[in-house]
Amino acid sequence: MEVSSEYAVQMHGILKKFGAFTALDHVDLDVKRQTVHAILGENGAGKTTLMNILYGLYQADEGGVFINGEEAQITSPTEAIRRGIGMVHQHFMLVENFTVTENIILGDEVCGAAGVLDMKKAREEVLAISQEYGFDVDPDARIEDISVGMQQRVEILKALYRGAEILILDEPTAVLTPPEIEKLIEIMHDLTSKGKTIIIITHKLKEILESADECSIIRRGVYMGKVDVKESNETDLASRMVGRNVNLKVEKTKAHPGEVLLSIRRLTVADERGIDQVRELDLDVRSGEIVGLAGIDGNGQQELVDAICSLIKVKAGRIMVGGHEVQNTTPRNVFEHAVATIPSDRHRWGLVLPMMVEENTVLERHGEDLFGKGIMLDYDKLHEYTHTLVERFDIRPSGCEQERMSGLSGGNQQKAIIARQVSYVPDILIAFQPTRGLDVGAIEFVHKTLIAERDRGAAILLISYELDEVMDVSDTIDVIYHGKIVGSFEQGTVDEKELGLLMAGGGSQ
């Protein structure tokens, strides 16, 4: 493709190696001005790496970058910002106890004559940009007090404040609720109509169809061309990305539930501030069934999971696992009652990033004789064991057993956790946002795995903020609102509208 000023960003023949591993193999990217351009690819395909190169965080080994038709040597984020490039990372980088304004001007402070910080002027500037793009954020609110969606808008504001004309968004919707996603898409369209160019990475095909003009596809570090989004659909995008036909519909047989394995009675749990988040909740999960908990973030899901895992104390009520009460014990005790949990925040609860992959796959059970007699840990055994998991769960790159966990892409880290928890052959599997950040191929795999676990006889509690996921995978759908179950349905007997209403508190109670 010719280099031309019609394009805001052109990256040609980008090669990037990490040691012997080629993450990007001569990848091209051509982004027209004033468009929304999506990048689609499986977990570990190299999307984030490509954007990190554009933002100056990594240097390409080969290839050229052109901004508005001019060759650019972007050697640092400072240089990228100077050229009008802004990036919002998947993990926000905000100072929790600073105000919105303070966060936005951090590193680019407005100073008066004597080098004194001019907060008033800064505040006005922030307010002006916020109003221009209809962000409606409160410049004086503290970050810790505002919602995740709002925090993300602050990140975008921060980039705009620094004069960004080209905005990179890396998986911006992974943590948002459906209304917040709608709002974000609206903002994106507004930004392009005002002259900005947006590059968005997302695994949600629906969002690409709704927001993007064009979509470039990368498969295992190789550029597979770009498609005009108007002429594409979900199945088409998915199969181009994976290189085979992906079944977007979850296929499963009828459940054959057995005895109740997890039984929760009148459970009340308070958060750290002492406010009740789970209120007299009752819930049963039987062997051989998947119970999906539908609900909007912040309705007690986190506290419920923490209480089941014995990470926090319950105020009242019982959690029974196979007939034994396990509330207010220890995580170890719960695990020994054959409960395995896939946590929602993989970096915080799920993984020890600086340790090797093979050390991470045995976090709960390294003490067993299987991994060494007595006090010694047998690394040969770990290696062998992890190798089978890597193969079985297609964790990439293959042969990553002795890499640090931090070197794996987000999606593959998630696969490693799922592999670990399923390998425990649990009686009860708690899956909290198990497909967060996963590509469609991997999501298909996780769903199949959950169903296979169900068919093996496990009791599965699926908690997800994605309504589609809950509706597709669960045999029974429970709706949680304000820490209480406000509705319970068999799969197929309820539609999205009714569930949405209940989730928003519009129940008959």
């Binding site: 020890v352 050390e359 006090i375």
Partner: protein, 386 residues
């Protein structure tokens, strides 16, 4: 070239590079101050390695800082900053002295008891710091610094107490000589020994003129054991997991609080061993009044950092450190240059250790240059054919 690149990517490269930079900076400072750098370095090496006696002394002085270094490195690898090595060292010297003064048993009992008392003292103090962190969330650096001072004054209190004070001196009574671990302590002063050693002058010098003792061998074994503990055992695995990510470890059912206490206990025990070996191995074999902290713990910090926080790495690092300090005294005697120059050198080394990124950069730069050359070579080939 490939070997060079590979080498530069290893952690040890940054240590060696830092040492080199340390020498260069010291040379510049010496030259600016009007001293001959070459002559000074010659005096330094002469002073550290010139005679068997010097070498013996370097080893003797390396023993305690090797152990405190291992203690600090061990804690560091599990996410804790044990700046309390100094206090744990002092606690050990106090307990070792008290036990050694009070008990008078045959050597086979006296030596283990005296050493165990010290180790237990260091371990208890370390565990206390760990407990405060695990139970109340008080940062270990704060409690460590406080316990350092508490131990210093406790030491002075014990020295001056009637039960242990040696009259007309600034020290406590020495421990009973059955607790000494000086090599061939009894024998080497006898006539038979003088005769036997007459034929081997280097051994005679090392034995008779110094307190050469078994401590260094013990310390090396401990360093190796700690390395294995961390890298190859289930306990070490748990400690590292807790150190890197407490939340994930907790979630996985690893008892996090117990791990923190245990880690500080082990670290404190190793620092305590340093103190115990100094009491049993080196004259005056007891505690003395301390005007300020002796620095065994703080030098351990430097050793641990020079070693890149590897327990085994502390072995060469402690020898280097002690060689510089001991040999540095000769720089003053021979060249008249202030021995502070050695402190500048050590400071520089520790400072540059903190920049491992530098060596990695050099490796990457070499790699790129090599690839560019290869590409240029390919391009040149068809030209040749034409």
């Amino acid at each position: 070239m490939n070997a060079v690149i590979k080498f530069l990517k290893k952690p040890i490269a940054s240590s060696l590079l830092a040492i080199l930079v340390g020498f260069i900076v010291a040379a510049v400072v010496l030259a600016v101050a009007g001293y001959d750098p070459i002559g000074s370095f010659a005096a330094l090496f002469q002073g550290a390695l010139g005679k068997p006696k010097y070498i013996a002394n370097v080893i003797i002085k390396a023993t305690p800082i090797l152990l405190t270094g291992v203690g600090v490195a061990f804690a560091f690898q599990t996410g804790l900053f044990n700046i309390g090595a100094e206090g744990q060292y002092i606690a050990a010297t106090i307990l070792s002295s008290i036990v050694g003064i009070t008990l008078d048993l045959p050597a086979v009992l006296e030596i283990p008891l005296v050493i165990l008392a010290g180790v237990a003292g260091g371990a208890a103090l370390g565990a206390f710091i760990g407990f405060l962190k695990a139970r109340f969330g008080i940062h270990e650096v704060i409690t460590s610094i406080m316990t350092n001072w508490i131990m210093l004054y406790l030491c002075n209190f014990v020295v001056m107490s009637d039960a242990f004070h040696k009259p007309n001196s600034t020290s406590a009574l020495p421990i009973h000589s059955s607790g000494y671990i000086t090599i061939l302590h009894e024998w080497k002063t006898t006539d038979a020994a003088v005769d036997a050693l007459a034929g081997v002058p280097w051994l005679r010098e090392a034995l008779l003129k110094t307190d050469l003792n078994a401590g260094f061998i013990i310390a090396v074994l401990v360093a190796v054991a700690e390395s294995i503990l961390l890298a190859r055992t289930k306990l070490g695995y748990e400690l590292r997991a807790v150190g890197y990510n407490k939340d994930a470890a907790l979630f996985a059912g690893i008892p996090v609080n117990r791990s923190i206490v245990l880690c500080m206990l082990i670290s404190g025990a190793v620092c305590g061993l340093a103190g115990a070996l100094n009491i049993t191995g080196i004259a005056p074999h007891t505690i003395t009044l301390l005007a300020a902290q002796e620095g065994y713990g703080f030098n351990g910090l430097s050793v641990a950092f020079i070693a890149g926080c590897s327990c085994v790495g502390c072995i060469p690092a402690s020898l280097l450190f002690s060689g510089l300090i001991y040999g540095g005294m000769s720089v003053q005697q021979v060249m008249g240059a202030p021995s502070d120059i050695i402190n500048i050198m050590i400071g520089t080394i520790v400072f540059f250790i903190a920049l491992p990124a530098v060596t990695r950069r050099i490796a990457e730069w070499l790699e790129r240059r090599q690839e560019a050359k290869a590409a240029a070579g390919d391009a040149a080939l068809p030209g040749k054919e034409a």
